[in-house]
């Protein structure tokens, strides 16, 4: 059996949904664009002063047309991420402004080269089924920041991407980049390579930017992930149950806009709800109540049969230390048990403000453990133990059994060198290095094992062409994060 975790019972989920439907009528939902408002109106909602009052039947009809499952594809066209059922995948957290310098242990503003290293490490770690546009590159003009980091991910990775746009104007450029990557709009729609996070603003507000992006993504057939994030006690009710209701209302209203724009377009019941820290005013992502909120919100989505996402595996600690390990491990295991399709947040510190490649490597270990956990306790032998005892008797030499050799790789997960399971030699006092220092070494090993990717046909030229115009307009004379000789080599081979 697959071990499962639920934090809400059926009757409470019913109450949550009933109150969410009630909120959609009163007070209703603010909608920032005329287009989205008109879509809701044409679907049966009542509009009043920029607020849509959405009847339950309108919302339920939209929920009905959402695909129950879909896939994201790698560049080779293989289904790499399954949104649906209890499948669980992880991707690094996204949009950090800073990165932890492993030498000084201080955060510094992230640059393109940091994103490249992060992508390369995530590319070779099998625990990450998808990449994310993990940091904001501070050496790139902000007006193309979202476009450029997607470009870097596509340049250095074959994996699918969890991304998001910072403005309405760059969304289309990002779609164009993905079209260039896939070799055409239909190819991209048929085998989507990326999913876009779109965030309502709590409480109950789809701003012009978010509403516009929802409609554009729906019509382009590119998957959207709705990231509602009430802060319990600040931008949402203080009770966890109350904020779960708000999350449901915000998400259902987004689904209504999205499905009215294009019924059947892929969309995910996502989220990043958190409690509001009543001392600092911050958003503690490592708090157990935040984890409870995230799991509960996903459980509501699963009760409707929808694909799910949430934000876990992040820590509030400023270092990849014991606190980070504790917070990230708890949420990774619980989120996996809850069967949430995509869990974003690995590698993140300081309440989502700072990324750490070393933490990404450490988190990969707990993710592997969590995945082993949900693989469950299997029964690969006809008898559970008696036939093996029949062979070894009371001698107990199980190590020699053929079953041992055949099955141990499936029974046990083997961690990387980051996890120290060595036996301490007798008489040796001091332990050499902690998990963080081992993670630093592992990062170097992983970077060394990253090899240049093979690209089909003219994909790289198309990507470069697609981003170069925008980069030039933004005043960039080179492409940060891409070695000049690589571009020259590529141009040379294209000329041939």
């Amino acid at each position: 059996m697959r071990p499962n975790l639920a934090v809400l019972d059926v009757s409470l989920i019913d109450r949550i949904l009933q109150e969410a439907f009630s909120l959609l009528m009163n007070p209703g939902v603010k909608v920032g664009t005329i287009e989205a408002a008109e879509l809701l109106s044409s679907g049966g909602a009542r509009l009043e002063n920029g607020v849509a009052h959405i009847p339950e039947w309108v919302a339920r009809r939209a929920l009905q047309s959402v695909p129950r499952e879909f896939y994201l594809y790698d560049r080779g066209g293989h289904a790499a991420v399954h949104y649906g059922g209890d499948d669980v995948h992880f991707d690094p957290g996204s949009s950090c402004l800073s990165i932890l310098d492993p030498d000084t242990l201080r955060p510094r503003l992230a640059q393109s080269r940091d994103l490249v290293r992060l992508i390369q490490v995530a590319e070779v770690l099998p625990q990450y089924a998808a990449q994310s546009t993990a940091v904001v590159c501070n050496d790139v003009p902000s007006e193309i920041g979202d476009l450029y980091r997607l470009f870097l991910v596509l340049w250095y990775s074959h994996k699918p991407v969890v991304t998001g746009a910072f403005s309405t104007s760059t969304l289309q450029a990002m779609i164009d980049l993905l079209v260039a990557d896939s070799g055409g709009g239909e190819a991209l729609k048929w085998k989507p390579r990326a999913i876009f996070d779109v965030c309502p603003s709590p409480p109950l507000n789809w701003t012009d930017f978010a509403a516009h992006n929802l409609v554009v993504l729906a019509r382009a057939g590119i998957p959207a992930e709705l990231i509602s994030m009430p802060l319990a006690g600040a931008t949402g009710p203080v009770t966890l149950a109350g904020s779960i209701v708000q999350h449901a209302a915000e998400t259902i209203s987004g689904i209504a806009i999205h499905q009215l724009a294009s019924p059947g377009a892929p969309v995910v019941w996502g989220g990043a709800p958190a409690i509001f820290d009543m001392r600092s005013g911050g958003t503690p992502m490592g708090a157990i109540e935040t984890v409870m909120l995230d799991i509960a919100c996903a459980q509501v989505g699963k009760s409707l049969g929808l694909p799910t996402h949430t934000y876990l595996v992040a820590s509030d600690s400023k270092l990849a230390d014991a606190q980070a390990g504790m917070e990230s491990s708890i949420s990774a295991v619980l989120g996996t048990l809850a069967g949430i399709n995509m869990i974003s947040g690995a590698g993140m510190l300081d309440a989502l403000a700072c990324h750490s490649i070393e933490k990404l490597v450490l988190d990969a270990e707990v993710i592997a453990s969590a995945q082993r956990m949900v693989a469950g306790i299997g029964t690969p032998t006809e008898t559970l133990a008696t036939s093996m005892f029949a062979q070894v008797g009371l001698q107990g030499e199980f190590l020699k059994l053929k079953e041992t050799r055949q099955l141990f790789r499936g029974e046990q997960h083997f961690p990387s060198s980051v996890i120290d399971r060595s036996t301490r030699p007798e008489g040796e006092g001091e332990v050499q290095g902690d998990a963080f220092s081992r993670a630093r070494e592992r990062v170097q090993e992983l970077l060394a094992s990253y090899s240049e990717l093979e690209f089909p046909g003219q994909t790289r030229s198309r990507l470069q062409e697609s981003v170069s115009r925008a980069a030039e307009r933004a005043g960039l004379v080179t492409l940060p994060g891409i070695p000049v000789n690589e571009l020259q080599r590529m141009q040379g081979s294209a000329a041939i």
């Binding site: 507000n205 005013g281 911050g282 403000a353």
Partner: protein
């Protein structure tokens, strides 16, 4: 009797009880208190006590909000009477607040504004999604001593730097102190973008602004 009344005023602030604070303010006027005495000897010590208890982790942000509401309720009774008598509560300083362009989050900023007002500052809250030139125009219009720039998102945080650059271009940087805040903001970020200060939370933002006023904001 007088001390007892002042203690009750202080307690109404610490307890976050706006109705009680308003009644006590009215009672104080009826009993012959000077409005400024009721403010400075009764209600303001309440806000100081709240700040201390917040620092000691016995009070939290919702408690502070309630205390600021109680202070506002008392001031609504006392300020008209003060003006009638030709007086005015001394202005602790003028502060312009706003959230950066592209960011519509305001809870932290509003909290800072509420607490600053409770501590006697004149606060001009520009709201959310505020363009750099609007910050500049309002610094000029109000003669602000301090400008506070808030951002909740890592993506809009860089807007804080843009506002500082706009203030510099307008030639106002020497006459106004800049503070920054918001969930993703750190002291290091504040230093990098050339801000004068960073408040980790609303309570420390108040202490920060008081400290900047004490330094003499026009010294530059």
């Amino acid at each position: 009797m007088r001390d007892e009344a002042l203690r009750a005023m202080q307690a109404s602030i610490v307890n976050g009880a706006p109705e009680t604070a308003a009644v006590l303010a009215q009672d104080a006027l009826t009993a012959g208190f000077e409005p400024l005495d009721a403010i400075n000897l009764g209600f303001v010590p309440g806000m100081h006590a709240v700040g201390e208890q917040f620092a000691q982790h016995t009070l939290f942000l919702p408690d502070m909000m309630a205390s600021a509401e109680a202070m506002r309720a008392a001031m609504q009774v006392l300020e008209p009477e003060l003006r009638k008598r030709g007086g005015e509560r001394p202005n602790a300083g003028t502060v312009v607040l706003g959230t950066t362009k592209g960011d519509i989050h305001e809870i932290g900023k509003t909290l800072v504004g509420t607490l600053l007002t409770a501590h006697g500052f004149k606060v001009h809250d520009l709201g959310v999604d505020v363009a750099s030139d609007v910050f500049v125009a309002n610094i000029l219009k109000t003669g602000a001593d301090v400008v506070g720039i808030s951002a909740l998102l890592t993506t809009t945080m860089r807007g804080q730097k843009s506002v500082i650059e706009a203030i510099e271009r307008a030639g106002l940087r020497a006459r106004v102190k800049v503070i920054v805040g918001g969930a993703p903001v750190s002291r290091r970020w504040a230093e990098e973008i050339g801000a004068d200060g960073y408040g980790q939370d609303a309570a420390s933002a108040v202490e920060l602004v008081k400290g900047l006023m004490h330094q003499g904001v026009h010294a530059g």
